[in-house]
């Protein structure tokens, strides 16, 4: 299945493995260290959520996996294995061959994600270009069936319409239909509900969950909405300032958060606030500048329980449970998993 040169050390490999990824964006005022030693696994047929504030690097991670980074981005360390192959060692044509076949993506803003001068029909037929066996007519029939499945009424006649003739919610359904039409092994969803209102959000999340089960693909679900992540995901990674500070199962993260940032994030989620209050809780301070190099813990300026060691030493990843780990010196009493 895979050649030895690219074979990772592990015996059983997840569908997607991100290992020690470092990424910089070149800007006029210097390199922005946007991803810092990021490691993440997405097992086949599971839904993994990435949560974090804006600017935490969660979308950048999604685009890195897709291979859709802007020109000023540079990966300086690490590897991404997808189906056992290192994506960074592949020629760009081979990466393009994976996109829209084994990998597909749903984007944040459905209003601008579809080409305004091409009909839904032509776009949906076009994206099946990896499929050389089916005829145009079969591809069209598959597109109509998929539109039907995602809840577009009267897809037979509406498939000829243009994007501007659909509402935002309908357009996101069309985008989901397109992304799943190619039956990917991994679907990346980058804040697919952020641009939609709350009732639509629930519908879209349910739709994603149902379709994921039907198709059996894995999903990397990027969101800042904790409720959506809790409802949809099997596993969660929490990102802060370009680092994965904690990851584990949904149960681990939501019931037994280990990192002070995760706890703060959960306290700020309006959906989880139990007490009556007049003010929404916030995490004091701002996300630190990602310019330049820094020695200590990335969260220490805003951390309520920071101590001396946090300034001097970068915390390694400590294992808390079988699938649960976090980067915080408070956990140093317990067993280390990596250095």
């Amino acid at each position: 299945m895979r050649r030895d040169g690219t074979a990772p050390q592990m015996s059983s490999l997840s569908l997607l493995e991100v290992r020690g990824l470092d990424l910089y964006f070149g800007t006029p005022s210097g390199g922005v260290h946007a991803l810092r030693n990021v490691s993440l696994e997405v097992p086949a047929a599971q839904i993994v959520g990435i949560v974090g504030e804006s600017g935490s690097g969660k979308s950048t991670l999604a685009y890195t996996v897709m291979g859709l980074l802007p020109e000023n981005a540079e990966v300086t360390a690490g590897a991404i294995f997808f189906e056992g192959r290192n994506l960074f060692n592949m020629p760009s044509s081979a990466r393009r061959g994976i996109r829209g076949d084994r990998l597909s993506m749903i984007f944040q803003d459905p209003m601008t994600s579809l080409n305004p001068v091409r009909s839904i029909e032509s776009q949906m037929i076009d994206i099946q270009h990896h499929d050389r066996l089916r005829s145009r007519r079969e591809k069209r029939a598959r597109a109509i069936a998929m539109l039907q499945r995602v809840g577009i009424p009267d897809p037979d006649s509406r498939i000829g319409d243009y994007p501007h003739q659909f509402s935002g919610g309908m357009r996101q359904r069309i985008c989901i239909a397109m992304a799943l039409l190619v039956e990917p092994a991994l679907l990346i969803a980058d804040e697919p509900t952020t641009a939609l209102d709350a009732t639509l959000e629930v519908q879209i999340i349910r739709l994603l969950k149902d379709l994921q089960e039907e198709i059996g693909c894995a999903v990397l679900f990027v969101s800042h909405h904790l409720g959506a992540v809790a409802e949809l995901c099997d596993r969660v990674a929490v990102m802060y300032a370009g680092e994965v500070v904690e990851q584990g199962t949904v149960r681990d993260i939501f019931h037994n958060p280990a990192h002070p940032y995760t706890r703060a994030l959960l306290e700020c989620d309006p959906g989880r606030i139990r007490k009556r209050t007049r003010t929404l809780p916030t995490i004091p301070g701002d996300v630190p500048s990602l310019l330049g190099v820094d020695g200590g813990c990335i969260f220490r300026q805003r951390c309520p329980s920071a101590f001396d060691r946090c300034r001097q030493e970068k915390p390694v990843e400590y294992r808390i449970g079988p699938e649960h780990s976090a980067r915080c010196h408070l956990l140093s009493e317990e067993q280390k998993v990596s250095a």
Partner: protein
């Protein structure tokens, strides 16, 4: 759609009416007698009066305006002072030459400029992009008549490759006679359209739907030609529609330089000879052309852009 066309027709009629009324007013207001200017001071009073009558100058301004528009409604644009032929005949005899020149110029310019603009956008800031950029600005800046004289000097006089003047007879000869004028007229447009396509291409390539198309592994060629270009071409269509006025302006000079027949040369000669009915008729037809071209470009835009279709 129909409302849009109606608005266009109303605007067109208004533009033509105001323009022609203004010209009549100017003719009236200018000190001195156009008939004297035309015939010279030695002309006999009878001859002068006859000319006055022909040009309708013996009547009050309001009557002149009413007479002119009355005639216009019946398709009568007045008579050429010298040849006594109907102005409409004179103008429509020259019109095909100008339209032919404009169409050929703009077609070759678009055919060269669109690929050039796409290439510049895809290889942004490369040596070729920067060179094309500088040459483009230069060709836009240099006036078309200077281009025409230069082309004439180099290719016709010095190298002798192409005929210098006239429009030619027979298809092949006419094509050969079109090369230099169309080159001189189109070269500035190559620069202009290539920059326009480059700019809108760069903008479109940064849009979300292009990233979406890339996420499905479509080839760069397919994305540029099938997804970006149909959008990037839209400003060009609009500009060509609006630019018909500039094209008519350059046609005036190009036709004079290459001694081609055409509406521009007709108007210049009529102005020099103070043949006012022909000037008025020429202005009328060119205004009509401009209004038509703007409308056409809106309609083409609507055909290319489903969003614009609904605004009509």
């Amino acid at each position: 759609m129909w409302l849009y066309l109606l608005k266009r027709v109303v605007l067109g009629v208004a533009v033509i009416a105001i323009a022609e009324a203004f010209l009549l007013l100017m003719i009236h207001a200018v000190p001195g007698d156009p008939a004297v200017a035309l015939l010279g001071p030695q002309a006999t009073p009878e001859f002068r009066a006859q000319l006055h009558q022909q040009m309708g100058l013996d009547k009050p301004l309001v009557v002149q305006i009413v007479t002119f528009f009355g005639g216009l409604l019946r398709g009568n644009l007045g008579f050429d002072v010298f040849s006594q032929r109907p102005v409409a005949d004179v103008v429509f005899e020259q019109l095909p030459y100008t339209i032919e020149l404009i169409l050929v110029s703009i077609l070759w310019a678009v055919a060269v400029a669109v690929p050039l603009g796409c290439y510049s956008a895809m290889r942004r800031n490369s040596m070729i992009d920067q060179a094309v950029g500088i040459v483009a600005v230069a060709t836009i800046a240099i006036p078309s008549f200077v281009m025409a004289v230069s082309a004439l000097l180099i290719f016709a006089v010095m190298l002798g490759w192409l005929p210098a003047i006239g429009a030619g007879t027979g298809f092949a000869d006419r094509v050969i006679h079109l090369i230099l004028p169309a080159f001189a007229m189109g070269i500035g447009w190559v620069g202009y359209i290539s920059r326009l396509v480059r700019a809108s291409m760069l903008e479109i390539l940064g849009e979300n739907h292009i990233r979406m198309a890339r996420s499905f592994g479509l080839s760069e060629w397919r994305i540029v030609t099938g997804y970006a270009l149909p959008l990037a071409i839209l400003p060009t269509v609009t500009i060509i529609g609006v630019g018909i006025a500039w094209l008519l302006s350059s046609a005036v000079f190009i036709e004079v330089v290459f001694a081609r027949p055409g509406i521009g040369a007709l108007i210049v000669n009529a102005v020099r000879a103070r043949n006012y009915p022909v000037v008025m008729g020429g202005a009328l037809v060119t205004t009509f052309l401009i209004v038509t071209a703007t409308t056409m470009s809106d309609l083409i835009n609507a055909a290319l852009d489903p969003r614009a279709r609904e605004e009509l």
